[in-house]
């Protein structure tokens, strides 16, 4: 009895048949270019019927995918396959995000480490006036005082 239980555990769970609604979201209608679950076009209805037939026969998802790709090409897949040139579609957004993060980090670092300006602020945090302007201001104030 124990041996049977161990054998069943080692064998792992039996592969479940794929679900039809799940599959319909993974393939594209060749004429309307939306996923099958969003399309009622004749071509989509035909592929849905094909999927229903294959699900009833309990074909695996990989098997169904291969059969559809053999007939319609990789454009029938809602997500590009993770192989060869198609990897670009998965990697480019990540590379873009990475580059953007590096650029933003560099800019933030640069701004936060910017050298102080040559004109020092006074104790109130205001920059000193131009000497000529200061002299002119003094003259004007003197005139008012006088």
């Amino acid at each position: 009895m124990a041996a049977i239980v161990v054998a069943l555990v080692l064998a792992g769970p039996a592969a479940a048949c794929p679900s039809l609604p799940d599959l319909e979201g993974k393939f594209i209608c060749p004429t309307c270019k939306t996923t099958l679950d969003q399309s009622d076009a004749p071509a989509a209805r035909q592929i849905k019927a094909y999927l229903a037939q294959r699900v009833a026969a309990c074909a695996s998802e990989a098997q169904i995918r291969d059969e559809l790709v053999a007939q319609f090409g990789t454009q029938v897949l809602a997500a590009p396959p993770r192989k060869g040139f198609h990897w670009l579609a998965w990697l480019l957004p990540l590379i873009g995000l990475l580059v953007a993060a590096v650029v933003v980090s560099l800019l933030v670092w640069r701004w936060s480490h910017a050298r102080p300006t040559e004109v020092e602020a006074d104790s109130n945090g205001r920059a000193p006036l131009d000497p000529e302007l200061e002299r002119r201001l003094d003259r004007e104030l003197t005139r008012f005082d006088g």
């Binding site: 060749p30 004429t31 004749p42 071509a43 035909q46 007939q71 319609f72 090409g73 454009q75």
Partner: protein
């Protein structure tokens, strides 16, 4: 050094934007570049070549193999109801004129292969059939739906006009007959 780096980054950004813009212009400019559009402008473009699996048996079918013969090129699919309705007329034209060298070549597009084979058997389509599941020929010919019919002269150029919808329909019947005569004589 920092100035050079900044300049290089600006040049790279400018090159990228220019490249993307050029790509957009090219795509827009070549979008309507297909056989149906040229035919509609009164030209006789060379029929785009294809090399496809046979639907009605093993092996391949290519348009080039029919060079020197007039060809009626009919795009169809098994999920298309008018395709079923026009099939008997295409079959009868094929039987009637094949002695004169006429070939009716059906190209099944965007279709499940098994369904297409059943459709061909049920509708007794005995003319050569090619299978183009991914629909690669669609954009080259400018096919906008099924059925659609083109006429290829002996010299490999498209003649007459592109017939959209079933050739059996009243609005297409006379034009179809005229195009059959034109392609036979071309």
């Amino acid at each position: 050094m920092a100035g050079r780096l900044k300049l290089a980054a600006q040049v790279a950004a400018l090159a990228l934007v220019t490249g993307l813009f050029a790509l957009l212009v090219w795509k827009v400019a070549t979008q309507g570049d297909n056989a149906a559009n040229e035919l509609g402008q009164g030209k006789n473009p060379r029929a785009p070549q294809f090399h496809l699996d046979r639907l009605d048996g093993p092996g391949k079918v290519s348009l080039a193999a029919y060079r020197g013969k007039p060809v009626i090129l009919n795009f169809w699919a098994s999920w298309c109801i008018p395709c079923k309705e026009e099939a008997p007329l295409l079959e009868s034209v094929w039987r009637r004129y094949r002695e004169r060298g006429l070939v009716v070549l059906g190209v099944d597009i965007q279709d499940v292969r098994g369904d297409a084979r059943r459709f061909a058997r049920r509708n007794k389509m005995s003319y050569p059939l090619a299978y183009d599941g991914p629909g690669n020929t669609v954009s080259h010919y400018g096919v906008t739906g099924v059925p659609e019919t083109f006429f290829v002269g002996r010299n490999g150029k498209l003649v007459c006009e592109r017939l959209q919808a079933g050739v059996h329909l009243e609005e297409n019947r006379d034009r179809f007959a005229a195009c059959v005569q034109e392609v036979l004589e071309a």
